[in-house]
Amino acid sequence: MNRHVLSILVENNSGVLSRIAGLFSRRGYNIDSLSVGETENPKISRMTITVNGDDYILEQIQKQLHKLINVIKIVELKPEKSIYRELILVKVRADSKNRATIIETVNIFRGKIIDVSSDTLTIELTGDFEKISAFTELIKPFGIIELVRTGFTGLQRGNVQITD
């Protein structure tokens, strides 16, 4: 089973997200992550969906998604030709003894401390899958109180557009 990242242009209408999510669930495919937002054209939204599956499942997902009238274009963002990012916010336990270590780790990963309390730090970090995983592994021993991730988003590298 391989991870695939799909970038999908859809009409920016209500109900589109439910159509797409519904298609995945009723055909037995799993969505690992999904992020969606308006593009430079307010009539069009872009969804980035991460799925796990073999070539057959990936082909089926793409073909079935294409049948939806609101779906305009689908491309697979191949790792070697794309940039992926995800944003996470982590609230971590931080006392006077370990606060400096945490800040150092955050700096190494080019994260930001965006909220501080007497016994917590809240960190914002963006990066690809590996960077986010590495960071969360390092920060885990301090005690993660809450964590939220936006899901993957991505674009193809260089001067190519999804419409090409």
Partner: protein, 538 residues
Amino acid sequence: MKASDAIIQCLKKENVDMIFGYPGGAVLPLYEALRKSDIKHILIRHEQSAAHSASGYARASTKTGVCIATSGPGATNLITGIATAYMDSIPLVIITGQVKSTAIGKDVFQEADIIGSTEPFTKHNYLIKNAKDIPKVIKEAFYIAATGRPGPVLIDIPVDIQNENIEFDYPKTTNIPGYKPTYEGHNGQIKRALQKLKASKKPLICVGGGIICANAYQELKAFSEKVKIPVVHTLMGIGALPSDSPYYVGMVGSHGHGFSNKVVIESDLLMIIGARVADRATADLKLLNEKKNIIHIDIDPAEVGKNVDTTIPIVGDAKNILNRFIEKCTPLETDEWIKKIHQLKENYIKQDEDTDYINPKKALEFLSNIVDEETILTADVGQNQIWAARNFEIKGDRKFFTSGGLGTMGYSLPAAVGAKLACPDKRVISVVGDGGIQMSLSELGTISENDLNITIILFNNYRLGMVRELQDIHYGKGKNFSISFKKSPDFVKIAEAYGLDSKQVTSNREFESAIKEALESKKGYLLECIVDPNFSTL
């Protein structure tokens, strides 16, 4: 113009002359507009039948079928009919009323999320939130329903929006960025397919409902004759090639003819056209494991490669692609292959069970021989469907309608209503079982009210015959459960109560004279044929 009047104007622009429906509170404005129009409205007895009748109408007329229901239960009653049309790729436009737009989401009287409910089995659906969108949405709905791979499109319109005023301007064209069906086959793929065909010694075509959707009968006939390729078909492909063609083989699949399945297994190249290679069509076939060349032609790219590995996929309209093949193909040397197929067919021994009651296979064969080629037959689901599919010969196009994909009981009677209204001059026969007819019995009222001269052949074995067989196979004989009707109604009396002619027959001899009488009747006729409960499907 009032939005409800605008809806009717849009339908008129789409050449709609008949609607199947059932009124209710959330479609009152629309029915008032319909009352003032010259569109014929058929008041069916249950919304599910509205969708089935619209489907029969669409299949017989080649037009898009239209049906209307009110919000909530009216809309949810449509669901089985919509799903049936979706599985069989039948173009329908369904209009449902919705509660007031300000009340949506508040669980008010007769509210149901029909958009959410029908998402999985409509080609597309719309909730109108702004009355001015109505013309654009209806234009798009008819375009989406009838083009590409046809299917049902639902439009949900809140009742307050139907009462708003709009400026009526019907768009001439549509532009839907995400919907551009492919009609032309890829040149390179066609070339590759031609090469494979040339090298083939035992080529075979397998056609499904896609040939009928594409109206590609002439092209299929011309192609098989010119290139000398035999043709098998699925249940939905009945009628794609006349059964008297020298290249006609038979039906494939678990309920198909044994020799057709043998031919599929023996072929070295299979050209699948407009068939989704469903489980029922491929059961018992070693199709998936054979190392044969498979050329799969379908207008829906998602069907190609879904159920069978394809050597050469070609996406496009069957009619266009067959024309390209006719143009470029030269006759193949298949005389030996065809001779072998004819031998296989000749060696096939029809099982001819003795029965004290009616033999449905013989009855349908007899019927097939006495009616003209223009006769339309609608079959329900279960044993009656397979008896009809295997024993009633279909020689013309758009003459056999059944719920092939979803397998919906209760389909035959309302579908026959739609077919008869679409083609009043053609003879329409509805074949049903005692289970299926009881799922849409009320439509006898629609038949009677509209003076529809439909011949209903009811094979009554007082049980769900196909389920009985399945239970026998899976759990052993004598373990049948919940499959017999111990209190069946007197169908003859029921038909009479609805004002139809009716008769019960119990022997083959009786059937032969009674069916002639039924066919001569000037009104709807229900011929109840008593069948041995143990009579087999195949």
